[in-house]
C-alpha cells in the first residue's frame, strides 16, 4: 500500500467561443478560439507526464468540446472524474466511461451544505473538472428526505441507493464578469483501496480581479469563508482525521509567511486565526515550502496578469494542518505548460502554469523546508560530505540544503541506477540547475556552479514503488589547483577564504613554471556559443587580511601553462582579458605570507560586456496584450526580435495569432535558451492593418546593468545570481503590449 500521492492543479483557460466573444472589448467575431486544440495537448501532456499524476484539478474548462476532449483523452488514466459542476447538478464518470448527473439537492442533503443558497442559473457552469485514478468513495442514500428524492427524480436526476461522495456548492457572492459563471467549490472523496482512508479533495476557482490587485477582495473573502464551511461540512468537522486538500486558482496574490504584509488579502485569508484555511489548512507554498527569507525565497509565480504585479502566485494547494503526509515538493510543471512540437498555429497552453505537489509518507529531510544541512570538515581535511545508506520508501525523497554559493561536485555513491538528484536554487524550486558543461570528476561527481545560496539538492527514486537505498556525496571546490578551481560566474561576487590558523592551502604546483604556492585557483570560461565579438572580461580582486598577489594563467596545451599576467604588492587588483569561444583562463590569488600565513579573505567579481536573455523553458518569455489597440476586432500581431542589430526571429501572425486584451502567448519556442547580447534586443510588435499602414511598436531591452530602475521595465523578480525578470513595455498605437523576460549575466550553459 503506497502512500505516494501526486496532485496537479491547472487553470487551463479553455473558454468557449461565446465567452471569448464576450470577453473581448470590441467583440471579435469570430474570436480567437484554440480551446479544442489546447485541450487535446493538455490532456495528452497530463496523461503522459513522467510525474505520474494521481489527482488532477482543471479550472476554466468552459468550452463544451474541450470538456469532451479532456474526458475522452484522460479517461484511460483517470477513470473517475467530475466532468461538470453547474448550479443544480454535477456530472461525473465513475469508471464506466459514461456520465451521470447528480442533483445537488441530494448531495447537499447527504454530504453537506455550508449555507442557505440563493444563486441560480448562470450563463456558464463552474468550469471545474476533477480527475482521479482512485475510485470515488460511496455513500448510501437511504437517509435522504423522500421529498427531496422526489424533487430530484422530477428534475430528471433520480437518486440511486448508493452514490459517489461528490458535492459542489456555488458561490452567491460574485463581482463583474465572474457573475456569468456558476463559480463554486467542488468536492470529491476518493479512496486508493479498501485498506486506506479516503482523501478529501476540494477544488475551486474563486473571484478574479480585473484591473487592479485585490479589486474584488470582498467577494472573494466571502467565497473563501464558504469554502471553509463547506470543507467542514463535507469532511465532518474539525480536527480533520483524514487527509484533506484544497486547491485551485484562488486569485489571491500569494505571499510568503516571513514577509507577508499585514492587512493584505493573503495574510488575512490564509494566515490569520479564525479561518478554516488558516487554522486547519495550510497554504503549502507560502506557509511551508517557501516562506521567504530567511527561509526559501521562490515566490512561486503561476500566472500572468495585466495589472501590477504582472506575475503572481494565484494557484494554490492546501493540505490539512495535521496531515500525515509530507509535502515533498511543490513546483510549477513547466514541461506540462509547453506547447509540444508540431502545433505551429498554437503558441500557448494557458495564461496560468500548472502547480504540482508530490506527497509521501514523512521521513527526515523529505521537504525543502526541513532539508538536511551538510557540514564540511574544515581545512586541511578534504571538504567532502557523505550521507550513507539512506532509504527511500515508496516515492520518498531526501533534501539537502547548502548555504554557501560556489562550485560543487555531487554524486550518488550508491543507488544511482535507482535514484537521481536535482539541484535547485532557493529562488526557483521548479527548474533544476544543469550540470556545468557536463564536467564530472570520477572521484567527487558531477560539477555544478551555484551562483547563489541557499541552494538545495533533492535525491529522489526513479520508481514510486518499493524501497531504494542511496548514498550521497557532496564536495565543495577549494581552488587548490586547476582541477579544483572555483568558477567565477560573470557579474556575481565570489567570496573565498584561505585556510586559517597558519595553514597553507597548497604547495607550489610543479607543472606551472612560476611559484604558485598557497594560491587559490579560480576559473573563467569563454562562451560555449558564438558571439559577434570577443567577450571582454574585467576581474576585480579585493583582499581582507594578509598580503596577496594575483596571476592570470592559461593552459595553452595539455600540461603547458602560460603566465599571462602577474601582479603583487597592491591592496586590490583589476585584470582585463578578452575571451574567444571555449577559451579558458585561470585567476590565481596567491597569499604571500610565508609558511605560517595570516588569515586572508578575498572577494572577486568577473564582469563582462554581455547580457543574456533567457529563452526556452529556463526564461519562459511571454508576450501579453495589456491594452488592446482601439478599433475593429482583435489585433493582428506579428513580431520581430532583433539582437544587436541582427534579426533573431521574425514571428508571423499565423504563428503567434491575434490578440485580444489580456491575451498571452509564450515566446519560448522562438527564443532559444540563451540569447547573449551586448547593446540591446529590440522587440518589435507589429499590428497588421489591411487598410492603413501597420502600427508598429518597438522597445529595446537594455543590457542587464541598465535594467534596474528603468521605467520601461517593471521588475517582478530579482535574484542574487543577477537574474532579473520583468515586464518590458511596448506601446503599439494606442495599445500596450508587454514582453515578460528574464535577463542575466551568466548561465551554466553559456
Amino acid at each position: 500500500m503506497s502512500s505516494s500521492l501526486r496532485i496537479l492543479t491547472f487553470n487551463t483557460q479553455l473558454r468557449s467561443w461565446a465567452m471569448q466573444v464576450g470577453a473581448s472589448s470590441g467583440y471579435t467575431i469570430p474570436p480567437i478560439d484554440t480551446a479544442e486544440e489546447r485541450a487535446a495537448m493538455i490532456a495528452d501532456a497530463i496523461v503522459n507526464s513522467p510525474f505520474d499524476y494521481d489527482i488532477v484539478g482543471l479550472c476554466e474548462v468552459f468550452d463544451e468540446d474541450a470538456r469532451a476532449i479532456l474526458r475522452k483523452r484522460m479517461r484511460s488514466k483517470f477513470p473517475y472524474m467530475i466532468a461538470k459542476c453547474d448550479y443544480d447538478h454535477l456530472r461525473h464518470e465513475s469508471g464506466g466511461g459514461s456520465t451521470t448527473n447528480l442533483a445537488l439537492l441530494a448531495t447537499w442533503n447527504l454530504i453537506g451544505q455550508p449555507t442557505a443558497i440563493t444563486s441560480g442559473y448562470r450563463l456558464e457552469d463552474s468550469g471545474l473538472m476533477l480527475f482521479s485514478r482512485f475510485p470515488f468513495a460511496t455513500i448510501g442514500t437511504g437517509g435522504l428526505d423522500p421529498g427531496i428524492a422526489q424533487l430530484c427524480a422530477f428534475a430528471g436526476m433520480p437518486v440511486p441507493a448508493v452514490i459517489p461522495a461528490l458535492n459542489f456548492f456555488p458561490y452567491d457572492d460574485t463581482d463583474g464578469n465572474d457573475g456569468d459563471a456558476c463559480k463554486g467549490v467542488a468536492y470529491m472523496r476518493v479512496q486508493r483501496d479498501q485498506f486506506s482512508p479516503p482523501y478529501h479533495v476540494f477544488f475551486s476557482h474563486t473571484q478574479a480581479d480585473t484591473d487592479k490587485l485585490e479589486e474584488h477582495r470582498d467577494a472573494r473573502g466571502k467565497q473563501l469563508r464558504v469554502v471553509g464551511k463547506f470543507i467542514e461540512e463535507c469532511v465532518g468537522g474539525w480536527p480533520f482525521t483524514e487527509e484533506v486538500f484544497f486547491m485551485g486558482d484562488l486569485n489571491v496574490s500569494g505571499e510568503q509567511a516571513s514577509n507577508a504584509v499585514a492587512d493584505r488579502e493573503w495574510k488575512d485569508s490564509f494566515e490569520t486565526l479564525g479561518n478554516t484555511l488558516s487554522d486547519f489548512m495550510v497554504d503549502l507554498w507560502g506557509r511551508r515550502q517557501c516562506v521567504g527569507a530567511p527561509g526559501l525565497r521562490d515566490p512561486g509565480y503561476s500566472a500572468t496578469v495585466r495589472y501590477p504585479p504582472q506575475e503572481q502566485r494565484l494557484d494554490y494547494i492546501f493540505a490539512s494542518a495535521n496531515s500525515g503526509l509530507a509535502a515533498q515538493h511543490l513546483s510549477i510543471d513547466y514541461a506540462l505548460a509547453e506547447v509540444p512540437p508540431g502545433h505551429d498555429d498554437v503558441s500557448y497552453l494557458s495564461d496560468h502554469r500548472p502547480l504540482r505537489l508530490d506527497l509521501a509518507r514523512p521521513r527526515p529531510n523529505s521537504t525543502p523546508d526541513t532539508a538536511m544541512e551538510p557540514t564540511f570538515p574544515s581545512p586541511p581535511s578534504f571538504p567532502v560530505f557523505t550521507d550513507d545508506a539512506q532509504w527511500l520508501i515508496e516515492g520518498q525523497v531526501k533534501w539537502y540544503i547548502f548555504r554557501t554559493a560556489g562550485t560543487y561536485d555531487f554524486r550518488l555513491d550508491d543507488g544511482e541506477d535507482r535514484c537521481g538528484f536535482e539541484v535547485y536554487l532557493d529562488t526557483d524550486l521548479s527548474r533544476p540547475r544543469q550540470q556545468y558543461r557536463m564536467e564530472e570528476n570520477p572521484d567527487t561527481g558531477k560539477k555544478f556552479v551555484l551562483a547563489s545560496a541557499p541552494f538545495l539538492v533533492k535525491v529522489f527514486p526513479f520508481s514510486r514503488d518499493g524501497e531504494q537505498r542511496f548514498s550521497f556525496r557532496a564536495y565543495r571546490h577549494q581552488g587548490q589547483g586547476p582541477w579544483d578551481s572555483i568558477q567565477l560566474p560573470y557579474g556575481v561576487p565570489v567570496h573565498e577564504e584561505f585556510p586559517h590558523l597558519g595553514q597553507r592551502l597548497n604547495d607550489d604546483w610543479m607543472p606551472t613554471p612560476w611559484d604558485d604556492a598557497d594560491s587559490k585557483w579560480f576559473r573563467i570560461d569563454g562562451p560555449k556559443i558564438s558571439l559577434t565579438r570577443k567577450l571582454e572580461v574585467g576581474i576585480d580582486v579585493k583582499g581582507d587580511g594578509t598580503k596577496f598577489g594575483v596571476a592570470l594563467a592559461r593552459e595553452s596545451s595539455p600540461g603547458v601553462w602560460d603566465l599571462l599576467d602577474r601582479r603583487d604588492g597592491e591592496p586590490a587588483y583589476h585584470l582585463d582579458i578578452a575571451l574567444e569561444r571555449d577559451e579558458v583562463v585561470h585567476v590565481l590569488v596567491q597569499r604571500q605570507d610565508g609558511l605560517t600565513p595570516g588569515d586572508l579573505a578575498v572577494d572577486l567579481v568577473a564582469t563582462t560586456n554581455v547580457s543574456i536573455l533567457l529563452g526556452g523553458q529556463r526564461g519562459a518569455p511571454r508576450l501579453m496584450c495589456q491594452d488592446e489597440t482601439s478599433g475593429w476586432g482583435a489585433d493582428d500581431i506579428a513580431m520581430k526580435i532583433t539582437v544587436d542589430g541582427a534579426e533573431l526571429r521574425s514571428i508571423s501572425n499565423d504563428e503567434i495569432g491575434d490578440f485580444d486584451q489580456d491575451d498571452i502567448r509564450d515566446l519560448n519556442q522562438w527564443i532559444p535558451d540563451l540569447v547573449p547580447y551586448f547593446d540591446g534586443i529590440e522587440f518589435k510588435v507589429i499590428e497588421l492593418d489591411d487598410t492603413s499602414p501597420d502600427d508598429i511598436g518597438q522597445q529595446t531591452l537594455r543590457p542587464r546593468q541598465q535594467l534596474d530602475g528603468w521605467d520601461k521595465f517593471a521588475v517582478t523578480k530579482s535574484d542574487d545570481d543577477r537574474t532579473i525578470r520583468g515586464a518590458l513595455t511596448i506601446d503599439v498605437d494606442d495599445g500596450t503590449y508587454v514582453a515578460q523576460v528574464s535577463v542575466t549575466t551568466w548561465d551554466e550553459q553559456f
Binding site: S16, W17, A18, M19, V21, G22, A23, S25, G26, Y27, I29, P30, E64, D65, Y121, R122, L123, E124, G156, G179, D180, G631, W632, G633, D690, T691, S692, P693
Partner: protein, 297 residues
C-alpha cells in the same frame, strides 16, 4: 420559425420555440455547392428561402426551405467578388449585402429574374477616417419600411442611413450613450416600422424610429446575473423581441412590459434558450452569428 446561424455547425438552426425539448432542424447548402465557412447574417426571402452571408467563402447562399435547393449568389464581374460578407437584407427584388472586408455595400437582384442591377456604394475608411460614404466594418444592413437602407458599422462605431444605392440622403444616426462606447452591430425590422439595433458592448437593444431618433428597448446592464453578454442580432417576433447573444451562446425572448425601465415601458426577459439539447433533442448551437424570423415551416 426562428433561424439562427451557428458557425460551429456551419448552418442555420431552425428553432420553433425557446425550449430545450422541441426538436429542431438545420439548414445547410447542398453538398455540391460546398459547406458554409464562417456564415454570419441570414434573411428570409419572400419565397421563404434562407439567404445566408457566407463570409469565409465570399458569397451569398440561398437555400430553398421547401426542398433544400441551393443557389449561390455572386455579384457581376464588374462589381468584383465579395470578401467576408456578413450582413444581408432583402426587400422584394432588392438584395443588399454588407460586403464587410471590402468595406462597401453591394446592391443587386434578389432573384435571377429581379430587374435590380448590381452596384456598390462606399469606400474604405483609412486609419479611422469617417467621411461620408466611408466604411470600416459594415457588418449588418436593413431595408426599412421607407425603403431606406440602415447600415451598422461597428468598425467606426456608427449607424448610418441612406436613401438608395447611390448613397443619397446619408445620415449618421445619433445613438444614446452607454457605459462603453456604442458600437452598433445588428440591424433588423422592429415594431411599428422601426429598426432594431443591437449594441453588444453595452448589452442593449435600441430602436431607431423612422424620424431618426433612437430609444433604448432593452438594457440588461444592471441585471444580475447578466441577461445579455454580447447581443449581436435581434428580430421582432409578434410583439416580442428575440435576441441572439453570441457572448452567452443563447437565444432570449423579451416580452413587452409596461413596468419595464422603471415604469417607462419596454421589454423584459421572458425566455432563454442555450444550445445544449435536452434528453429529447432540442436545438444545438454554440457559435451564434446571425438571426432571422420566418413563417413557420
Amino acid at each position: 420559425m426562428i433561424y439562427l446561424v451557428d458557425q460551429r455547425r456551419r448552418g442555420v438552426v431552425a428553432v420553433e420555440t425557446l425550449d430545450a425539448l422541441t426538436p429542431s432542424s438545420i439548414w445547410q447548402p447542398w453538398a455540391a455547392t460546398g459547406v458554409l465557412d464562417r456564415p454570419y447574417g441570414v434573411q428570409v426571402g419572400t419565397d421563404e428561402a434562407l439567404y445566408i452571408a457566407d463570409g469565409g467563402n465570399g458569397r451569398v447562399v440561398a437555400i430553398d426551405t421547401s426542398d433544400g435547393a441551393t443557389t449561390v449568389i455572386q455579384p457581376s464581374a464588374a462589381i468584383g467578388k465579395l470578401k467576408g460578407p456578413r450582413g444581408i437584407a432583402i426587400d422584394g427584388d432588392l438584395l443588399v449585402i454588407a460586403d464587410t472586408d471590402n468595406q462597401r455595400i453591394v446592391f443587386g437582384p434578389a432573384t435571377p429574374t429581379s430587374p435590380t442591377p448590381w452596384s456598390t456604394f462606399g469606400t474604405a475608411s483609412v486609419s479611422g477616417s469617417r467621411a461620408v460614404g466611408e466604411f470600416r466594418a459594415p457588418v449588418s444592413v436593413h431595408i426599412d419600411s421607407s425603403q431606406r437602407i440602415v447600415i451598422a458599422d461597428p468598425g467606426l462605431g456608427r449607424l448610418v442611413r441612406i436613401d438608395d444605392s447611390t448613397g443619397a440622403g446619408w445620415t449618421e444616426i445619433a445613438l444614446p450613450a452607454g457605459t462603453s462606447a456604442v458600437t452598433p452591430y445588428g440591424v433588423a425590422a422592429g415594431p411599428d416600422d422601426t429598426t432594431l439595433v443591437t449594441d453588444p458592448d453595452n448589452g442593449r437593444v435600441l430602436i431607431l424610429a423612422s424620424d431618426g431618433t433612437v430609444t433604448v428597448a432593452i438594457d440588461s446592464r444592471n441585471a444580475r446575473p447578466r441577461q445579455l453578454v454580447t447581443p449581436i442580432a435581434a428580430c421582432i417576433d409578434g410583439d416580442d423581441i428575440v435576441v441572439a447573444d453570441a457572448g452567452a451562446a443563447q437565444l432570449t425572448r423579451w416580452t413587452p412590459d409596461p413596468d419595464a425601465n422603471g415604469g417607462a415601458g419596454g421589454w423584459t426577459l421572458s425566455e432563454h434558450l442555450i444550445g445544449v439539447p435536452g434528453p429529447l433533442g432540442g436545438p444545438q448551437f454554440s457559435q451564434v452569428t446571425g438571426l432571422a424570423i420566418g413563417a413557420s415551416a
